[in-house]
């Protein structure tokens, strides 16, 4: 689904109300190297979490 460009501004402004500014500021404080490291660590965590969930499901079966 595509949205009319003219209507996007208002929608984006509404979304901005719920953005956690502290997270934005944290990201800005980091160097590019730190930002990329955090991303890789999150991906690693996501993978481990997924594997853990699979193991738990297998154990229940």
């Amino acid at each position: 689904m595509e949205v009319d460009m003219n209507s996007i501004d208002e929608i984006i402004e509404i979304y901005k109300r719920d953005v956690d500014i502290t997270m934005i500021d944290e990201g800005l404080k980091r160097t590019v190297e730190e930002r990329m490291r955090v991303l890789a660590e999150f991906e690693q965590f996501r993978e481990e979490l997924q594997k853990g969930m699979e193991r738990a499901r297998d154990a229940v079966r």
Binding site: M1, E2, V3, D4, M5, I8, I11, I12, E13, Y15, K16, D18, V19, D20, I21, M23, I24, D25, E26, G27, L28, R30, V32, E33, R35, M36, V38, L39, A40, F42, E43, Q44, R46, E47
Partner: protein, 167 residues
């Protein structure tokens, strides 16, 4: 699991002309939003397509989400005939984009990108203004939250991050 560093290292070492766009570019600019794939805008000249195909040959690239067993072969003819490829590889999820909405091709966006050191690889990264512009141009509701974050990020950014120099 997507191995961001390895994918970018592979593309850079192979001499592929590409610009990092999407979530990884957003992260480089400071976005707290996590992504699980690498989006790159690649140049579609003959030499670059050859390098791309050769670089990915060992990674068993396959269409992400497609049923197994399709006669998909990632070779020059396939890349030439297609444009945007959503791939799964041995290094994780890689999206090869020949064009992006609102931005155009690799050559169109060269001046809208800066070099940045990503995991030790010097890569072109789409600048924040253009990243926002392309997401707005795509007009996808799923991007609205990300656009809101990126615009706040731009507004709160003390000054643009100086690009890494390519020596």
């Amino acid at each position: 699991m997507t191995q961001f560093a390895e994918i970018l290292r592979l593309l850079t070492k192979a001499g592929i002309e590409f610009i990092v766009v999407g979530g990884v570019a957003a992260t480089a600019h400071g976005s707290p939003r996590a992504t699980t794939d690498v989006d790159v805008l690649y140049a579609r000249n003959r030499g670059n397509l050859d390098r791309l195909v050769a670089a990915l040959a060992g990674l068993e690239p396959y269409l992400r989400g497609a049923p197994p067993g399709l006669p998909f072969k990632f070779d020059y003819e396939t890349v030439k005939a297609g444009l945007n490829f959503t791939l799964i590889t041995n290094l994780g999820a890689l999206n090869l984009l020949g064009e992006i909405a609102g931005g155009g091709k690799y050559e169109d966006l060269l001046t809208q990108s800066d070099f940045s050191d990503l995991y030790g690889s010097l890569c072109r990264v789409l600048n924040l203004d253009m990243l926002i512009w392309t997401k707005r141009a795509a007009g996808r509701p799923k991007d609205f939250e990300a656009i809101a974050e990126l615009e706040l990020l731009r507004d709160r950014s003390p000054s643009p991050t100086p690009p890494a120099s390519k020596s």
